[in-house]
Symmetry: C2
Subunit: 155 residues, 2 copies
């Protein structure tokens, strides 16, 4: 992607947004690999943050990430394989397995967050901090609660 498009400024804008995301994520990934977190993908980091923020079962994580619980369970399995989370039976509900972020997982979140912040700082330096904040505020407004048609169709 990241190809100038011409003919539709709307399509260009979409590409710009995607390009921005990739730009950040690629940089962070490269640095993360250098710091011993090889093989980790952006999805994993975001999923880890969601787990830490309270999505401590596969089903709940699926709901938060808007994917099926099966997909969430697979993500958790990957995170477990990397040693970023572990699971234990829920004492109060035998159906559940509670997912917990391990110390190594917290380290990934810290390092990853710092790297994302680094990129953001560099961006702030290039266009000015207030400009970046305005950009973020506008983006937040534009993406908030868009029509949620096909949601909660899970199971």
């Amino acid at each position: 992607m990241i190809v100038p498009m011409a003919q539709s400024s709307g399509a260009e804008l979409a590409l710009l947004l995607l390009g921005g995301f990739h730009s950040m994520v690629d940089e962070v990934n490269v640095e993360l690999a250098k710091r011993g977190h090889e093989g980790v993908r952006p999805v994993h980091e975001f999923a880890l943050r969601a787990v830490d923020a309270g999505a401590d079962t596969a089903s709940e994580l699926g709901r938060r990430l808007s994917v099926t619980k099966q997909a969430a369970a697979q993500t958790i399995a990957v995170l477990e394989g990397f040693g970023y989370v572990d699971r234990e039976p829920d004492p109060g509900d035998a159906r559940r397995k509670r997912v917990r972020v391990t110390p190594r997982g917290h380290e990934l979140m810290t390092v990853g967050g710092a790297l994302f912040d680094d990129v953001r700082s560099r961006w702030a330096a290039r266009i000015g901090p207030e400009q970046l904040e305005t950009l973020e505020a506008h983006l937040a407004r534009l993406t908030e609660r868009r029509s949620f048609t096909a949601e909660d169709l899970q199971d």
Copy 2:
């Protein structure tokens, strides 16, 4: 995705960008399906635009989209299946098969472009046209020619 993240404003920004992209693409896809272009994915539309802009072989398309020529060939096969492109042997080079956008393909580009522009207009109405233009200009600056490490490793 589209989950508030906390703890890293950099990570939040990345999510905001991805969310913005999805927000646009989802809307466009829904409308496209209603207009008889069911099954088409954003990649297809962007690939089609690249073909139309001159990437008329699988290898060249791969280069433009930064994917392998095999991946590009698969995308072309899908587009051909939908009737958006056709292929003919290149008279001047027997190795090549020239990809051409069909009338139906041009229609998709037109409709798709208009739908993207619609979303963009709605966004402009919400935050103001100059604000949106500024946002685009900043994004363009921030994503332009980032280090291109792993490129042209193709074949």
